[in-house]
Amino acid sequence: MYRIFTAAALAVAAATGNAGAQDFPNKPVQLMVAFPAGGSTDIGARIVASIAEKALGQPIVVVNKGGAGGQVGWTEMVRQRPDGHYIGYINLPATNTVILDPDRKAIFTEKDFTPIINHVLDPGVIWVKADSQYKTVQDLIDAAKKAPNTLRAATTGILSDDHLAILMTEEAAPGAVFRLVHLEGGAAQFKELMAGNIDVAFDNVGSIVPRVRSGEVRALAVMDDARSKFLPDVPTMKELGYPTVMSNSTRGIAGPKGMPAAVVGKLREVLKKAMDDPEHVSKLESQGLAIKVMIGDEYEKYFADTHAKAKKYTDWAKNRPQK
């Protein structure tokens, strides 16, 4: 009796274990985007999917599971079978802050994902109206120091990467305090800035490149290691003397934890090829999105680093007196 049981158990284990890796993919793959259709993550995903599915041999269907700043989609993803047929976009540091915010009661932690490949790295940027009185970041910081909690700085959402970036700026320039206004997305920021309801906006390069080019807005600084190739005239915070203000928003593809290495390898190969494809590159670059493919250890390290950094600022954000 015992032997039959063990044999059966072993057989089941063998069948469901690595068998998946050999005949992957054997049905369409679902690529989850944790934001509503039409957003920039979504459009990027659809472009990648349409190119990658040819090499994969099975259709890649983009599934939108938006809501709660991505939490709904990521919650769904960690519950799926890690056989490679359900993968999705994770957005760092948004995914991190959802995990770290105790109020969110996320059912997943950073260990519940298998990072596959990173797609886009969109550096943070500080921008103002073209005719604003603030011509440089220093103007801004001086004004924030002179009249703390008066200058209205917009984010794209509570605990977004922009939110954390403002806190980083306050940390790097002690005495500067901004009045945080949480708007929903870059378009809202643009409108309120034009209307004069806010003074400065923190967002990402991809959102504003076209407007900087057309002269409607002025980018004061980019929060990255090096200047953005889309905004070559805009200095980095590092150059301006604030090297600790480094913030960006990445989009990458991951799966639930426990994916077999062979499956991850195949997905990586197919997706990397799609991301290197010239048509894909040109479409993304026309939107001002910087492609930064990261795989393997590099991506995992990036994930861990971002998580640690996000923890510090998330805690601060939750306890900030002026909210």
């Binding site: 938006g66 939490q71 909690n149 009045r179 378009a187 309120e192």
Partner: protein
């Protein structure tokens, strides 16, 4: 005049055979998207963006814009025929449109909707041409405090929906507002009333709720009666009668104005103009008790407002680069992918492109009318199928619609629950429309209040020191007072939509 010249050049470009066919394809696709359950205009447009990669920029934009306002019309068809709104903005059309269909006048309802949409769209486009840039600037002065005040005006209008039974309408509205608060709150970004269910983090889905309250509940009400025919009388003429024409035309005129002005304000969703137009029409009507029973103005007003809104909402996009709604944001994404960033710069530097797109709106509106009017009779005939097929078809429609929004069984569950609740509410004569209005306005009210206070650093005087905001608050108070005082002497209790 410079603008006229631009328009004519634009018309010439838009009327090229190639662009005409793009507009046509867009209209057809858009109508289909509007009819198909769950697939709203935003998602539908997003899905079709890759399709346009192979086209030249103008062609792509013409097609995508056509899809956008085509979808507005498609949603009407299901509202009228099976009391299920094809997309959120079509909810109000259910009130009277479905009743008209039950009286065998579904064709008339669809017809007047098509005509109203056409008039609203053309008028809005013409107004766009004449007053675009200056009006757009006015729209900019609508910030979060003004928005909050506008939402209060919307709330005050609920009293206009209620007719005699004010108390039940208020209760339903409060319930709607409360349900709207479920989800992540705009203050701390933490879940509220979600009881650990992740599917609720983004709130109780609006579409599953209305599909249940309207569609499923209606089916239950149809089945429970011994006499099962969905249509009570035979199909009559497709066109409205002479007195109906007069009432409808008035409603169309007013709907155009309301839709146009609300379309200029960024952030006003597509449902709000329809509600405002409907309630306004009911308030000034000499026969308000007919609303909810198949009054033709009850269809003409919201449908016209809807299309006027859709066309007017392109103004902030094209002149300022500000998208007024999520669907338009998708459209804007499409512009950008095609290398064109909408905004004052594009307006000045590439008027040929912008005006070709604007001209295509006019052509698109004509195309929609031409496409849809002939089929109106055909659509209406669907209701003559044996009622079992209509019912099961509608249920299938609702299930797919609720599920495919977020690939979520939970949403289907919400829809079923709301179907039962809606059935119960109708049996005890508690009005559903205020509930829906509360559900729509709720999130806007809290968010705009919060954002206003963030801007002012907690100072409430911001609402009183901004002239436009103060003005709107006064209007809200006035509307409320007028309704309270104008209540006619109590009559027999009427049934409410």
């Amino acid at each position: 005049m410079d603008t006229l010249q631009h328009l004519l050049t634009g018309l010439a470009a838009a009327a090229s055979l190639q662009n005409l066919s793009f507009a046509l394809i867009g209209c057809i696709l858009g109508t289909l998207i509007g009819v198909l359950p769950g697939l709203g205009p935003a998602a539908g447009t997003a899905i079709l963006i890759p399709l346009t990669f192979t086209l030249d920029p103008i062609g792509a934009l013409i097609m995508l814009s056509a899809i956008y306002y085509g979808a507005m019309y498609g949603g009407t068809i299901t509202s009228v025929l099976i009391n299920v709104p094809g997309e959120a903005a079509s909810v109000v059309t259910c009130f009277d449109g479905y009743q008209m269909a039950k009286q065998g006048r579904g064709g008339t309802a669809l017809g007047i909707a098509a005509i109203g949409s056409f008039v609203g769209g053309i008028a809005a486009t013409l107004a766009l041409i004449v007053v675009a840039p200056p009006l757009a600037r006015v729209a900019l002065s609508f910030g979060p405090p003004e928005f909050f005040a506008l939402m209060l005006v919307g709330l005050a209008l609920i009293t206009g929906l209620s007719g005699q039974s004010l108390l039940p309408a208020l209760v339903m509205a409060v319930l709607g507002l409360l349900v709207a608060l479920v989800g992540i709150d705009p203050v701390r970004g933490a879940p509220r009333f979600t009881f650990g269910v992740p599917s609720l983090y983004d709130g109780v889905g609006f579409i599953p709720v209305v599909m249940g309250l309207f569609g499923v509940a209606e089916i239950l009400l149809t089945i429970e009666k011994p006499y099962r025919q969905v249509i009570k009388t035979n199909l009559s003429s497709l066109l409205p009668s002479r007195p109906e024409w007069r009432r409808a035309l008035g409603a169309i005129g007013r709907g155009t104005g309301i839709g146009f002005f609300l379309g200029l304000i960024p952030g006003v969703g597509s449902i709000i103009p329809t509600f405002v137009a409907y309630v306004f029409e009911k308030r000034i009507s000499k026969t308000p008790e007919q609303f909810g029973q198949g009054a033709i103005e009850g269809v003409a007003a919201p449908e016209t407002a809807n299309n006027a809104y859709a066309n007017a909402a392109m103004i902030p996009l094209l002149t300022l680069g500000i998208p007024s709604s999520p669907t338009i944001a998708v459209l804007m994404g499409a512009f950008i992918i095609n290398g064109l960033t909408p905004g004052p710069f594009l307006f000045k530097e590439r008027p040929d492109l912008v005006w070709a797109v604007i001209a295509s709106f006019m052509i698109g509106n004509v195309l929609l009318l031409v496409l849809n009017l002939p089929f109106v009779g055909l659509w209406a005939r669907l209701l003559h199928l044996p009622y079992q097929y209509v019912c099961v078809g509608t249920l299938l429609f609702c299930v797919i619609g609720a599920y495919s929004l977020q690939q979520s069984v939970f949403d289907v569950g919400v829809m079923i629950a709301c179907g039962i609740i809606g059935y119960g509410l109708r049996k005890v004569d508690l009005p559903i429309a205020p509930l829906v209005l509360g559900l729509i306005l709720g999130p806007f009210i809290e968010k705009s209040l919060r954002t206003s206070l963030e801007m002012s650093g907690g100072d409430f005087s911001i609402f009183f020191t901004r002239p436009l905001c103060l003005g709107l608050l006064v209007i809200a108070a006035a509307v409320l007072a007028a309704s309270m005082l104008r209540l006619p002497p109590p009559q027999l209790r009427e049934s409410n939509p």
